[in-house]
Symmetry: C3
Subunit: 145 residues, 3 copies
Amino acid sequence: MTSRFALIALLFCLITTVTADDRKHIVDDSLSAFPFSNGVLVGDTLYLGGHLGLDKSGKVPANVEDEVNLVMEAIKKTVESAGLTMDDVVSIQVHCSDLSLYDSFNKIYKTYFKNGYPARAFLGSGKLLRDAHFEVLGIAVKKSR
Amino acid sequence: MTSRFALIALLFCLITTVTADDRKHIVDDSLSAFPFSNGVLVGDTLYLGGHLGLDKSGKVPANVEDEVNLVMEAIKKTVESAGLTMDDVVSIQVHCSDLSLYDSFNKIYKTYFKNGYPARAFLGSGKLLRDAHFEVLGIAVKKSR
Amino acid sequence: MTSRFALIALLFCLITTVTADDRKHIVDDSLSAFPFSNGVLVGDTLYLGGHLGLDKSGKVPANVEDEVNLVMEAIKKTVESAGLTMDDVVSIQVHCSDLSLYDSFNKIYKTYFKNGYPARAFLGSGKLLRDAHFEVLGIAVKKSR
């Protein structure tokens, strides 16, 4: 229930894409006060910034599965806003403040990929922004379809 | 002795490469239960996942030099399985849970590169998976030879 | 005052660029004893290693704003030594040992970008080399101008 509400809220977030010269900046309007883009697309390559799993109030939810769903939906949203699909993701870094959550993360993470997994590093971090358990970044390369 | 045994074990690990569309996934068969590829090659660019220095039982060896040898051999194996060489590596991230091991790491690390070093970040991490001291990832780009 | 001295010192550091085959290694001469390049340029893509904000004595300055200035000037210097500009940076990772410095970092960081921000991850790390508060790395892609 909590999870469903949070995901619906996420779908209504606005994403702005700004084309500057040969590249496209993908910016989540709710985060535009901060000095970063969610992703930058140059040619066929999309560089993804660090994404957190935040609910509609900008907080990390109490339930860890909700957090994993939110962070992966956030990644997916940036990927799709750039015109790519999750199938195009080649590299992922998961920075995790509590390694005991490894299995919980994987269980949800693996549902996002259908044709082979990205190269991935799963790294124990220090404390993360907003007390998140996960910050996820990566690179996607548009397939020649 | 311990080190030699571990390296021999590593050489017998099977690596599977799966070509999906325009990209090749490099997967170590002993790790195929986990949702990641060791590397993904797209065009000339190889994205390396996080590699640990594990012995044949899947554990981090007691001796730190053995661990460094194992993690660098694991990286080299993925690089070569993709058809590239260590000379093609352009970028490396070392996540290290104990910075006092910096010199021990460098001593072995530098023997892997003959024509200039990759750009590298050496980052103090939190606790790493399997209590490893090092997790190493990076990017390689095949030289136009 | 401290800051100005440090920045002047930085401007006098020598940078060597070595072209090997199809790639260029950018090496800060004051750091050439270490097994890394500050950056490696392949085609239009520059891979930046981890940069610290060090003063002319190789130490992290007492003042955090000085440190942020130094680390961003170090990044800029590597970018420009490769023939690119800060406007070409597409991806940044900030590894930070004290998240309470987030706003101090952003205040200076954002002055370095004029046409949209790179995708960025701001990650809580463990202890960093030389007790730095920040280690910054990233990727830049030369614009087709």
